[in-house]
């Protein structure tokens, strides 16, 4: 790697360490929850000998132990979590660009869940497509939208007319008087 990444390694490592510790603790908490929830909430085995709680408790305890192992290696800085990486020598502040891109994609995914039924498959997909493209550095937003609409419309025709799948047309369009 380049010199820039060598320099930033020190600070990146400590950041990665905090995230790793948090992640290890989260895994341990998940394990504790899985084990506790299954050990208390379920009835006994009956004739089956092995009840519904046995496997979840094993898995939960396993997660707890493995999370503990991760915690140990995170503390010793043998394992870290790198959320965002700055690409070597591009632009002024590439790591904020990556962060902005990530936020944009996250927003686009949430938006897709929200818009899927009201706007329909084609419009919602075009929004998703354009946002992801923009997040990955595309500067031609209008073109991205046009291609997104074209792609989604093609998929819609192939899957709905060809394969007989159900995709939402969009409540909004259906409520318009001239689409009835």
């Amino acid at each position: 790697m380049s010199n820039a990444s060598e320099e930033s390694r020190g600070s990146a490592e400590t950041r990665g360490k905090t995230s790793a510790v948090v992640m290890a603790l989260a895994i341990m908490a998940l394990g504790a929850f899985v084990a506790y929830d299954s050990a208390t909430g379920l009835t006994g085995p009956g004739y089956a000998q092995v009840g519904p709680g046995v496997f979840p408790v094993i898995v939960g305890v396993g997660l707890l132990l493995a999370g503990g192992g991760l915690l140990a290696s995170a503390m010793r800085s043998q394992w870290g979590v790198t959320w965002i990486e700055r690409p070597p020598s591009t632009g002024s502040d590439p790591s904020t660009a990556s962060l902005r891109g990530l936020m944009l994609v996250a927003a686009a995914l949430v938006l897709n869940v929200v818009l899927f039924a009201p706007l329909g498959f084609i419009a919602a997909s075009a929004v998703l497509f354009a946002c992801v493209s923009a997040a990955l550095g595309s500067k031609r937003f209008i073109l991205d939208v046009v291609i997104g609409v074209g792609l989604a419309a093609t998929i819609y025709i192939v899957f709905v007319k060809g394969l007989g799948l159900q995709l939402p047309v969009g409540d909004l369009w259906e409520s318009l008087p001239w689409t009835r």
Binding site: S19, M23, I27, L30, V34, S38, G41, L42, T43, G46, Y47, A48, Q49, V50, G51, P52, F55, P56, V59, G62, L63, A66, G67, L70, V81, T82, W83, I84, E85, R86, P87, T90, A97, S98, G101, L102, L104, V105, A106, L109, N112, F121, S125, L128, F129, A130, V132, A135, L136, G137, D144, I147, G148, L151, A152, I155, F159, L163, G164, L167
Partner: protein
């Protein structure tokens, strides 16, 4: 051996125009996803599952098979011309193949990869046709305890083999197992880990999780790393065909690759990745020109590329005869079987001979198609990489959402998909491999079922797993698969402790 009769029957099914069309679609799609980095055969099959629910299962499986080994052909092309392996199983190919391309022998590298894949794929299919019925007669004797032991073996080898750290592999596996537990327990009808959310009572569908972890997770990861170095495609130039000498140096690695790949594919060790490294090491050792390795030795392309195709065919042996997936793609194919209400295992050969033998016969046909598709058209496939990266990932996310939505027509599923994507992104950032989670998610419920069945039969006697010779043997291997790497790592660390402390803290 009367293995020929069912195989001929299989050809009569695979050679119908419709099934030929499915094979062609499969190998074409497979080559395309093999060429494109970021999407692999497992993801492609997962995204196609909802769309194929209404198709005839024979045609669907012929297509899925084509995608799986088509991806092995396609990924060699990008390894050689671009130094960017489309799949993990072609990482080794890039070492020598890209050097060959730089030396102006790219066409020869592509040729030896495609012909080697064809030779090995065809030989492995012969082995599959001969070997699978033998395993079936053997597998009919298996009881629940033996199946449980086999699945445990798959868990341990997958975690020990995939990824860079066993601990992280285990975490991934346990994640998958935990998610697999969500939903109503089949034996007692009690809800487990559902938090009272009714949409979770049926469990989290494997397809949604797989697409989320692979496609959405990968897209988020790529965005967070932004575009770094631009790849340069080396145009195919120089003599198009392989020289006499290159033929002479290629045919033995092809055969050795076929011999190495197939048995590794049948083992629960994560598919085609490991044997390619082994093949490379073997070719380097046996070569008369070891000094050429690292500078474009054709053996280093011929061997591993033959190996990965052979391994992919080997993967079908445990999948079809035992219902045991040994790679992520095989795991998704197991879900496909479940979607059609089919249970792979020894009885599949008796109950659905059309499907099994039609699929096996289609492998021969698909390999011929792939040779034709890849040998003269390699340059065309590389053009796929001209799709701008933003549009590629935008399209992947649109297709992933489409596939998941059409599974149940539920927007709630889209939410699960994106949550799984966030999980996949976090796992990539933490260097936790994704494949063990998929295997755990799919095999976990089956393993629990077999475990409880075995203990119910033995009336609560847990020693049943150690008193049956077969399950005891398999369990011993499983434990060894976990402990041997730990022990070797421990001894290596002890030996190099002082030296390592001095060089790099």
């Amino acid at each position: 051996m009367d293995a020929l009769t069912p195989l001929l029957h299989g050809f009569s099914i695979a050679l119908t125009p419709l099934n030929l069309l499915w094979a062609l679609i499969g190998v074409t799609l497979g080559t395309a996803v093999g060429v494109l980095p970021g999407i692999g055969p497992a993801l492609t099959v997962a995204m196609l599952l909802p769309a194929t629910g209404k198709l005839d299962p024979v045609g669907a499986f012929i297509m899925f098979g084509g995608i799986y080994y088509g991806a092995m052909y396609g990924s060699s092309t990008t390894s050689i011309l671009l130094n960017t392996p489309g799949e993990n199983s072609s990482v080794v190919t890039a070492i020598e193949g890209h050097q060959m391309a730089k030396n102006g022998r790219g066409a020869a590298a592509l040729a030896t990869a495609a012909i080697g894949s064809f030779v090995a794929g065809t030989l492995a299919t012969v082995a599959l046709a001969l070997f699978a019925p033998v395993v079936v007669t053997f597998a009919l004797e298996f009881g629940p305890a033996d199946y449980f032991a086999l699945m445990l073996l798959a868990f341990t080898t997958v975690t020990a083999v995939l990824g860079s750290s066993m601990l992280r592999g285990i975490v991934s596996l346990l994640f998958g197992l935990a998610i697999g537990l969500v939903g109503i327990d089949m034996q007692t009808g009690q809800a487990r880990l559902t938090l009272g959310v009714p949409q979770l009572f049926d469990g989290i569908p494997v397809v949604i999780l797989a697409v989320g972890l692979f496609a959405v997770g990968e897209a988020l990861f790529v965005v967070s790393r932004a575009a770094s170095a631009k790849d340069t495609i080396i145009p195919v130039r120089g003599r198009i065909w392989m020289t006499r000498n290159e033929w002479k140096r290629s045919w033995k690695p092809w055969l050795r690759g076929a011999a190495i790949g197939f048995p590794f594919g049948t083992l629960p060790a994560g598919g085609a990745e490991i044997p390619t490294f082994l093949s490379y090491a073997v070719e380097k050792k046996l070569s008369k020109h070891p000094e050429e390795f690292g500078h474009g030795a054709i053996e280093g392309v011929a061997g591993p590329e033959a190996t990965n195709n052979s391994a992919v065919t080997g993967v079908l042996v445990p999948l079809l005869t035992l219902g045991l997936p040994t790679s992520a793609t095989a795991a998704i194919m197991l879900v496909a079987f479940q979607q059609y209400g089919l249970q792979p295992g020894p009885l599949l050969f008796a109950r659905n001979p059309d499907l099994v033998w039609g699929l096996i016969a289609s492998l021969y046909i698909g390999n011929v198609m792939l040779l034709v598709l890849n040998l003269p058209l390699a340059g065309v496939w590389v053009r796929l990489l001209a799709i701008p990266q933003p549009w590629l990932y935008g399209g992947i996310l649109v297709l992933a959402s489409l596939g998941v939505y059409s599974l149940h027509g539920s927007v709630f599923d889209l939410g699960i998909l994106y949550a799984a994507g966030a999980l996949g992104y976090a796992m990539r950032c933490a260097d936790i491999p994704v494949a063990p989670a998929i295997i755990g998610l799919i095999l976990g419920p089956l393993a629990e079922q077999q475990f409880r069945r075995a203990v119910a039969i033995s009336q609560g006697d847990l020693t049943v797993f150690f008193t049956r010779p077969l399950s005891a043997t398999i369990l011993a291997i499983a434990v060894a698969a976990l402990l041997v790497p730990i022990a070797t790592a421990y001894w290596q660390r002890r030996r190099s402790n002082q030296a390592a402390a001095r060089v790099a803290p």
